[in-house]
Amino acid sequence: MDIEFKTLVAETFEMNIDDVEDNFALDPEGNWDSIAHLSIISGIDHIYNVQIRGDDLVGCRNISDIYLLIKKNGS
């Protein structure tokens, strides 16, 4: 997991980058709301030039799942 992605996660979820762990959970009832979706999608587009689909994001349970999506869609 690269530093750009961790920075994006930290900014999206308003947390310290040192607290970003690979298994950081995405909670649809809490932190994983529509604005978080938009932040992640716009960030991934800008940083990696990869366009993630919303349907794919909904299935993610932690940030490692999102990172795998980037690798899968970017390769």
């Binding site: 979706h37 938009l38 716009s42 689909r53 919303g54 349907d55």
Partner: protein, 204 residues
């Protein structure tokens, strides 16, 4: 009938849009005894067994009872963290609500995306996001997220603002948004009828 009810009824008959913002932690109701009321109302939902959707529908049901309007009721819900907002109005028109915490920060990449389309708009990024969320709920745009990936182009949406009211033009249709700050949240209420937004009342 108690005095509160009479006052509420009097106010509501003179207005059109009623909304309530509440902490779900303080709004525990007997699930079993009220689920059937909701299932047989216009507020039934596939997600009714989720506590947040159950509580907002139950709240909407109570408001409509007090409004004494059982037909031509428009409504919208918004959920954020432990809070829910319920908007109910008499009349057959488009209306929607979105709530966001006042201190919610928008990431720089999302702000960049918004500034590509709305750089001249005198509204904060969170207010513009709320307008877009409301437009999705109304159904005038399908989503902000492109089904093929990435975010949608917003070239066809024109937004201007004056005195805390936003004017949105999309596909030759006009929509209006009003912003209300309450209990650490800002609420964005959007409708295609500007007159109704002049008469919003808040209930606990």
């Amino acid at each position: 009938m108690d005095l509160d009810f009479l006052c509420f009824k009097k106010v509501c008959l003179n207005t059109r849009v009623v909304f309530s913002l509440y902490d779900r932690e303080n709004y525990k109701k007997n699930f079993c005894s009220t689920i059937f009321l909701i299932l047989f109302s216009k507020f039934r939902s596939f997600r009714i067994f989720n506590p947040r959707y159950f509580s907002s529908r139950f709240k909407a049901l109570n408001i409509t009872k007090k409004l004494l309007y059982f037909s031509n009721v428009s409504y919208s819900f918004s959920h954020s963290k432990n809070y829910s907002a319920v908007l109910v109005s008499s009349g057959d028109f488009h209306v929607s609500i979105d709530i966001e915490p006042n201190n919610r920060k928008i990431s720089k990449y999302l702000s960049l995306y918004l500034s590509d389309y709305f750089a001249d708009v005198k509204l904060s990024s969170i207010e513009i996001i709320s307008i877009l969320e409301c437009l999705v709920k109304i159904g005038i745009i399908d989503s902000i997220i492109d089904s093929k990936g990435g975010l949608m182009s917003l070239n066809n949406i024109n937004i201007s603002s004056k005195n805390r009211t936003a004017f949105i033009k999309i596909q030759d249709k006009m929509f209006y948004s009003k912003f209300i700050v309450i209990d650490g949240f800002h609420a964005c209420i959007t409708s295609d009828n500007s007159d109704y937004l002049k008469n919003i009342i808040y209930v606990d």
